[in-house]
Every structure is written in C-alpha cells, then in structure tokens.
Symmetry: C2
Subunit: 282 residues, 2 copies
C-alpha cells in the first residue's frame, strides 16, 4: 500500500498560504462557470473548493452560515420572504429555514453543478436545499433575477469573492437593484472579505453601500479556513440597524421562533461581532 | 542573482499548516532554553519564531498585546504594580507603560536571548523594554520568582504554550502562587490557546482557575498568525469581572489615563471579545 502525503494549499495572498491535509478527492469537476473540488480532509471534515479557494469546510461553516443568516433575520421582526444569492452549498438556506416566519426561501445560485455536488458530497450543508413547499431552488443568475423579484424581507448575498461570476454583485448598480427588490423594512447581508488583507475592498464596499442605504454595519466573525482567519460580513438596510436591537429583544425573538442550539450565534455574539476595532478604516 | 522562493511553515496541527513568505533570516540562535528565529517576511513585517512556533508578527501583534494588557488593566481602577511573565519581546510591557498609574512594571522572562534579539531586530516591540525608572527587566524564571514578589495589582502571563519551559505556568499550583502574589483587588490575564483546535486545553485551564479564583473570563481575539486565526485569552480574579464594567466607565478610564489611538482595544471590543460562542464548551 502506497501512502501519499497530500496537502491542499490555498494561495491566499502573495505571501501567505494555508494548507490542509487531504485524505481523498471526492469530486473534481469543471462546470461552465468554475472549477469545483470537494475534498475529504484528515481532521476538519469535508471541504468545498472553487477555483482554488476554500468556500466552506465542515470545521467552521457553522460560524459563517449562522452569522450571515441569524444576525439580519433576527434584526427583522418577522421575515417572510428571503432570497439567498449564491449559497449553492445549502448552508445559508439551512439556517434560513430555522425561522418559522419564513414562508418562502428562494435560492439564486448561478451554478447547478455546485448544488448537485453539495447535495451528493456535503450532506450537512446540502440538506438545507431538501425539497419543501417553503423552498424555491433554481440555478439562475442573480444579477438578472434580481430585476424580477420583489417584496423581499431579507436578501443574503452568499457569493464568492468579487471576481469572475460574482464581480457584478459588488457594484453600486447591483446594490440599487437589491434595494428595489426589498420590501419596506427589509435588510441585506453580504460577505465582504478579510479585515487584515482586504481592507480596501471592505471600505469601498462600505462607501458604495452608504450611497444607497441609511444603515450599513460591518461585523467580524472568526473563520479559520478563510484567509487570515477572520472575515468581515456586512448588513445594509434603509430602516434596520442590527446594533439597535437590545439583547433581551433578540433573546425573545429566538425563543418565539424556537431557535435553539446555535453553535456560534447568540444575542451577545451578535452585538460583539459589531464592535469594530479602530484598525479597520471604513 | 539567485532568487530563492523561501517560505516559513508552522505545522500547527497534524493536518493544518500556515506558511509565510520569508525574504531574510535576521537571526537564528539556540539559547539555553529554545531555538529562536527572527524572520523578515515579504508583506507582514518581522516575525519572532520560537521552536518553530510563531510568537509575534508585526502584522497582528497589536491585537494580542493590546487585548492581553488593556482589558485587565482597564478593568482595574488604578493598577500600580504590574508583573509580565514571559513577554521578552517587549510588546506587552509597551502597552503596560501606557497606563500612567503604573509605578512599577516588572518583567520576568526566563530567556535573556529573547530579550536581546527583540531589542536588536524587532524594535517596534523591543522599545517596550527601553530603560526607565518605572521598569524592572531581568531574565529570571517566573516559576521561582513568583514566590518572592508581592502586592501586584496585575499579572499578565504572556507565555509560550504549555510545553517546555512554560509547562509549570499552566498548573493549579502555579495559579495559587499567582493568587498569593496579588494585592487585594488584583487581576491576571493569560493566553490560553485556539478555541477551534485546543478546546480541551482551554476548558481544563478554565476549570483549574475556577478552583482558585471567583471570576474567570475567557475572551476571544483575532490573530491571523496564530493557529486557526482566533485565540482565547482569559482573566482570573477574586474580585474583578471585566464583563461587569460599563462601556462609559471604560471610556472614562481610558480618557483619564490618556490612552488614545489603540488599534484594536475599545470599550466595545473589550465587551465584544467576552461574548463567547456556544461551541466553546468550558
């Protein structure tokens, strides 16, 4: 028996690399949009890699998916219609469905191959897209679809980074289309990049969103498998400010919705993640 | 001219590695206690490495040193005598000296070679040990010295991980000696490990400290160059709880002491870092 010492290395930055020990390549597929790998790691579960960048890893995906979802949805009093842009792995929709007020969760993932591979190989995430009358899943281009959809209480932009298929999702033009698709009192969340490595991207995004929305709130969450181990997410809304909801009210909303046993989200991590360090210049 | 592509790789875990691009080795020395390297990285400044583990990097050292220092020292109303255990790089003492109430800062670093190398090669940290009547620097073994010193308002345990020379610093016996060295109303801070990779170590430390101190508070800070990118620090005190000080009072103490232009610490990151995610089982 030959034993290979295989490592997956993400070149995060010209002078920074993270490597994870891999025991098996479960899938490696070129879709019309991108190259997709699903890897079995030795100690951190399965990992979804797109064009060489780690998108989701069973070790820490709960932090990202809970915080991208529950922070905006609990800031909203009763979200009924929620759109997830990207998120083909299913993790974000899995968290959305924990809110019983949600009557319709709509997924707009451009790449059907991502959906299919995660259904097959990453069931802890893929389960989020299990067929349900409350769920509408389709492979479609969110940058087109956003002009058709209306009356959304929340939009969760669970995209890859601003290059390739996701580039248009990070433009002022697209932010205006998101605003037009929201119901009054709606809220949006985004992934925005590493506060240590991509400050310029984060501050440009903040300024661009401020042109369209009254309340823009960056927040930081720990994600070991993303570059630098900390990631910036961001909310935008004309009316809702996640920092303006008291912990007791967030607690009440969690109880009312029966949301228990979160692994990262609490009313206090909600508020704590919004406390920004001064080195992050907006 | 030959151009070498040199990378320093820390094997953080049996299946996880971080690599940083190195342009120069400034020092590489075997001391009586350990092997010490000072590396010039391409984009993240200089880096202190001991026995193959990154101890401090100019990219992110401010997060660790500010949070290990200001969180306990601002929880205390007027710290006069402060002991730093380890901390030979000078970064923690640099932050201690920003508190004008401190009449005496005492360093107990076991390894003179660490002090000398950081004075020479990492001046942004080493400056913290510049000679001053308020400062007492000596190479001495804290596990012995702790029995001689008394009446301390704060002890900052800025040690390496619990193996080799630092092993005794993580025992209940040592915690009792720390308690005996404190003045009434004193407080201690520790570095405790990665919440993603070393949960057992953190929860053992929490339980052991609870045998000796009424208030034990873990808190989490983002440090890209440490394993998993997030690190757990911890305070212990018989009387002081960092979570019980209101933001307005912390703000008042910062103003009173003239502490401005911190890069990570604010009254809100103080409280935010103490908001623990449920996945961290204590």
């Amino acid at each position: 028996m030959t034993v290979l010492d295989l490592w997956f290395t993400e070149e995060l930055h010209s002078d920074w690399r993270t490597s994870v020990k891999v025991t098996d390549t479960l899938a490696s597929v070129q879709s019309p949009y991108q190259h997709i790998d699903v890897l079995q790691t030795e100690g951190h579960g399965r990992m979804l890699v797109i064009d060489g960048k780690i998108q989701a890893c069973e070790l820490d995906e709960f932090v990202y998916h809970e915080m991208l979802t529950h922070l905006p949805l609990l800031t909203h009093k009763a979200p009924r219609r929620v759109l997830v842009i990207g998120g083909g792995d299913g993790g974000t929709m899995r968290e959305v469905m924990r809110h019983p007020s949600v009557e319709k969760g709509i997924l707009a993932e451009i790449d059907q191959v991502v959906i299919d591979l995660c259904q097959e190989w990453m069931p802890t995430l893929g389960a989020g897209l299990t067929s349900s009358p409350r769920l509408e899943v389709a492979a479609r281009d969110a940058s087109e679809y956003i002009r058709e959809v209306k009356d959304l209480d929340a939009i969760l932009v669970d995209s890859s980074d601003p290059e390739g298929p996701s580039e248009r999702l990070f433009t002022v033009e697209f932010y205006r289309e998101l605003a037009a698709a929201l119901a009054p009192g709606g809220i949006i969340s985004f992934q925005a990049g590493s506060p240590f490595f991509y400050q310029e991207q984060i501050s440009r995004m903040y300024r661009d969103l401020k042109q369209v929305f009254e309340h823009v709130r960056p927040y930081l969450v720990p994600i070991p498998t993303y570059p630098s181990g900390t990631w910036c997410l961001m909310t935008a809304s004309s009316t809702l400010d996640p920092l303006a909801v008291a912990p007791a009210e967030l607690e009440r909303r969690m109880q009312q919705r029966g949301i228990k046993e979160t692994r990262f989200y609490t009313p206090y991590t909600h508020l704590g993640s919004l406390a920004l360090p001064p080195f992050l210049k907006l």
